[in-house]
């Protein structure tokens, strides 16, 4: 694979590329899904290919080819150069890259038991067992999924970088959908909605989730939501659980701090950012309790690597410190634009896509105390759990999120369950109302596999670690 990657670099440079890098990717993934006690799907997928990215006269070109042969590597290189040349003739600016020492070495995900090699029978049995635990009369649909992935990714560049990385991921989740006699629908999920949670780890991670252990609670809560009162509307204090905080961090901190969005290259699709390059070091993002860190070295993180997809080494970087913006997620190109060495967040979802600035592992650093301590200081409020819906504007300012469930908080204690909770806010105002983050004992990391960005579209696998957090004076109960 290293030879093929090198062959592509040689071909691109010979054709006129001023810079070239190539990624050879071989991936195998499995998905097991069961539903209502039956196997819904058992699938095994493989993909492989080479992607070549070039700069010709300061303009980018990229081409992907599935053939892992010298011919495939050369064709990809030549096509990338041709596309770059066609674009360069009309470009009015030249792309510059911040310097980075040529990367060299290997990285492998730590694991005890290869999740791809775990027998399918074992995966199916786990899903069916977890489903069984969710069954109730009111629960009409039970679902369980587990996934596993192994990938080898080779990177070379015309600057001399040469890296081989082996990634292993797995994860799982369960969902219960309850339907009332008059057609009302409610659902609960564990460990998070939208496919569960994944980690860069062996099968021991899936076992640690305790899907079957949590199943009875998930089923009971889905059924109970059918008769729960609706979340009231108003301005109140909310305590947000770690799983929903993952989405809050992802959407209202992760995406707006992607420096390519700040410079506008995502404007037509995902949008831009309310942040400007000059805000670095001065913009107040939130209260003093807000500390956000990008860390592609976090154990178990889906965004953990040795080097990103342009050869920048993994390193922990602050993004928000004490409520002040102190970092961005960046590439070599955007680092050069802002004049700061912030690179290390360039990632491509496969061999057939060009790397983009993406989140790696972006965490809300823990504060102090327990969840109970957070609740204790709420006279009247809501505790919100597990994402259900989400939407945020193109500058990542105005958001509306819904959760699967809420519990009222009365005089510091959890009270009755409420259905259909939603809350909305404007990013810096909302984070400015953060008055407590629970401590390390409540800090949990979740791995998401559905972060979309780019045209053509790309999915990123990212992780976020958070503790429950408390926000004052938040609009809740938004309905049409």
């Amino acid at each position: 694979m290293q030879d093929l990657a090198g062959h592509a670099i040689d071909a691109a440079v010979a054709a006129g590329a001023g810079y070239a890098d190539s990624r050879v990717v071989q991936r195998r993934a499995q998905l097991v899904a069961t539903k209502n006690g039956e196997v819904d799907s058992v699938s095994d997928s493989e993909t492989e290919g080479i992607g070549v990215r070039v700069l010709v006269d300061g303009a980018w070109g990229f081409a992907g080819d599935p053939r892992l042969t010298e011919e495939g590597a050369r064709d990809a290189a030549l096509r990338a150069v041709a596309f770059a040349r066609a674009s360069a003739s009309r470009a009015h600016t030249r792309v510059e890259l911040a310097p980075v020492p040529p990367a060299s070495g290997d990285y492998s995900s730590p694991m005890e038991r290869d999740p791809v090699e775990v027998p399918l029978e074992e995966k199916i049995a786990l899903c069916l067992r977890a489903e069984e635990g969710m069954r109730r009369a009111e629960v009409k649909i039970t679902e369980a999924t587990v996934r596993a992935m192994g990938e080898q990714r080779v990177f070379r560049s015309s600057e001399g970088a040469s890296v081989t990385q082996r990634f292993v991921e797995c994860g799982g989740g369960i969902d219960a959908l309850a339907v009332s006699g008059d057609g009302r629908v409610q659902n609960r999920s564990y460990p998070s909605a939208h496919g569960g949670s994944s980690a860069q780890a062996g099968w021991e991670f899936v076992e640690s989730l305790g899907l079957d252990r949590e199943a009875p609670r998930v089923g009971e809560e889905a059924a109970a939501l059918l008769t729960a009162p609706a979340c009231p509307s108003g301005i109140t204090t909310i305590v947000v659980d770690a799983e929903q905080m993952v989405l809050q961090v992802h959407e209202s901190v992760g995406h707006p701090t992607e420096l390519d969005r700040v410079y506008g290259t995502e404007a037509a699709y995902a949008g831009t950012s309310f942040l400007k390059a000059g805000d670095l070091g001065s913009l107040r993002y939130g209260s003093e309790h807000m500390n956000i860190t990008a860390d592609p070295t976090t154990a178990l993180g889906l965004g953990t690597f040795g080097w990103d997809d342009e050869g920048s080494p993994a390193r922990r970087q602050p993004v928000v410190e004490g409520g002040v913006l102190t970092g961005y997620l960046a590439s070599r190109e955007t680092s050069a634009l802002i004049g700061r060495d912030l690179g290390g967040s360039m990632r491509a979802d496969n061999w057939s896509r060009m790397p983009l600035v993406r989140m790696t592992n972006l965490h809300l650093e823990p504060g102090a105390g327990s969840l109970d301590d957070l609740l204790a200081d709420v006279d009247d409020g809501l505790y919100l759990s597990t994402n259900k819906s989400w939407s945020i504007d193109d500058k990542r300012l105005n958001f509306q999120f819904g959760t699967q469930v809420a519990w009222e908080i009365k005089k510091g204690k959890l009270g009755k369950m409420l259905r259909d909770p939603t809350y909305m806010g404007v990013t810096p105002k909302f984070w400015g109302r953060l008055d407590a983050v629970a401590g390390p004992q409540e800090w949990t990391m979740f791995g998401l596999t559905n972060c979309g960005k780019g045209q053509p579209g790309q999915h990123a696998h990212v992780s976020h670690g958070t503790s429950p957090a408390r926000f004052r004076d938040v609009q809740v109960g938004v309905r049409s």
Binding site: E46, A80, K140
Partner: protein, 454 residues
């Protein structure tokens, strides 16, 4: 024989001694993505994806590969067989599709298929030149997609499709306007004209004002109604959602739920959409009348949901490829009937006092059972006053009921527009919705956001 069908038949032969079907995607595409009026992320993709479904004594397993040599196909067949062997009997599996004639459809244009990377870059440059007073953001893309389905039952069908889209966001710090166009014929598109439409819209959005949230009467351009319709369709016009009680139409088929001017069909044979001859398990496409004169009539079906219903339903040809069939059948050729209005200005007259919405952003389904969708407006939101489109307003947060929106139709344009709905994730599979612009008395705004612009 097409490359896709050749691959499908080779993959079927790689599965020895089992029942199996195979779906194949072959893609060759170019994407000239631009930002700030320069091509910035140009991407060329070639790929071939083979999905095998093997059935052994009622047990089903799937495997996907893009290794299309004999070893790669044999390995995938082995993985699918292993998956089947590991699974219990699947009582919901509806069996393989029997060979059946598929309709002749359009959707392939030689000239579009012949576009080169240089042509794509040139088209992007034409778009950029069409908006000289703004930065232009978006893309010009064209591609050729071949799909084929073959099986041990003797099924062997294939189709080649072309698609081309141009998307234009003309923007400055305090102004932005949007336009797009799509077709399976490149000659239908004028990239510069699309960019001009975006720029003319952008020029009208400067100095956007605030507005008090409320339920508005509104004009929605095709770009906006298309996105709302597709989110509603994904969650409600899908037989699996219907059977599971998650659909807005669950228990409501046959009822008059919407304005009588709302008629909706899905027709894969309609050459004004992206025509499709068969679905991804090889079932010929059937036109489905979903809403007729405001009365909910049906949803779209695949073989699995038809069997699950157990009441005589048959597949209408709307299956995804396994294992994505877990999402249920999807209507890829939605067409909403037009009305009598000659222009959006006439729709504004019907609204009289309200808002005008060009485009939406980042939709989320808040309550699928009730069809409630949230999102933001962007890149061209205006007040409508005295029946005229007047001043720009900031982006608006809406949380609105789609059923209420189409129950409260005030009018529709006679002209309908195909709006691309693919974001080009994973394998390329062109689809869109054919929609008019609409006027409604029910579009609920719950908050305000930032102004237009970057």
């Amino acid at each position: 024989m097409s490359r896709a069908l050749e691959l499908a038949e080779r993959a079927v032969r790689a599965v020895e001694g089992d029942e199996a079907d195979v779906s194949v995607h072959v893609e060759s595409s170019g994407f000239a993505r631009y930002a700030a009026s320069a091509v910035h992320q140009p991407t060329l993709i070639r790929d071939e994806t083979v999905t095998l479904r093997v059935v052994r004594d009622g047990r089903v397993g799937c495997a996907t590969t893009n290794r299309t040599d004999d070893d790669g196909l044999a390995a995938a067949a082995g993985h699918a067989a292993e998956a089947a062997d590991s699974s219990p009997v699947d009582p919901s599996f509806a069996g393989l599709q029997e060979p059946a004639p598929v309709p002749e459809v359009g959707g392939y244009d030689k000239a579009t298929a012949a576009l080169t990377p240089e042509d794509q870059a040139e088209a992007a440059a034409e778009a950029i030149a069409g908006a000289p007073d703004f930065g232009l953001y978006g893309y010009y893309t064209s591609g050729v997609t071949e799909v084929a389905v073959a099986s041990t039952a003797g099924l062997a069908v294939s189709q080649a499709m072309t698609d081309v889209s141009v998307l234009a966001l003309a923007a400055s710090d305090n102004a932005s306007g949007y336009a797009e166009a799509t077709s399976w014929r490149a000659s239908d598109l004028d990239p510069a004209a699309v960019a001009r439409e975006a720029a003319e819209k952008a020029a009208r959005t400067k100095s956007a004002g605030q507005i008090e949230p409320q339920t508005f009467r509104a004009v929605l351009e095709p770009y906006a109604i298309s996105e709302l319709l597709f989110y509603f369709a994904f969650t409600s016009l899908n037989a699996l959602a219907l059977l599971e009680g998650r659909s807005y139409l669950s228990g409501r088929l046959g009822e008059k739920l919407f304005d009588e001017r709302f008629t909706l069909r899905d027709d894969g044979l309609d050459a004004e959409t992206y025509p499709k001859a068969f679905d991804l398990e090889g079932v010929p496409k059937q036109p489905v009348l979903i809403v007729e004169d405001g009365v909910a009539r049906d949803v779209v079906w695949d073989r699995r949901t038809a069997k699950q219903a157990g009441d005589g339903h048959v597949s209408t040809g709307h299956a995804l490829a396994p294992p994505a069939q877990a999402f249920g059948p999807i209507p890829f050729n939605l067409a909403m009937s037009g009305g009598t209005a000659s222009s959006v200005d006439e729709l504004a007259e019907l609204v009289d006092d309200g808002i005008y919405v060009t485009r939406l952003h980042y939709l989320g389904v808040v309550d699928p059972r009730e069809g409630i969708i949230t999102g933001m407006t962007r890149d061209g939101t205006f007040r409508v006053e005295g029946g005229k489109v007047t001043t720009p307003v900031v982006n608006l947060r809406f949380t609105t009921s789609f059923p209420a929106l189409v129950a409260g139709l005030l009018g529709l344009t006679e002209e309908t527009t195909l709006v691309n709905r693919s974001d080009f994730y994973d394998e390329r599979y062109p689809f869109g919705t054919l929609v008019p612009a609409v006027a409604t008395d029910s579009f609920t705004v719950v908050g305000t956001g930032s102004g237009p612009g970057l």
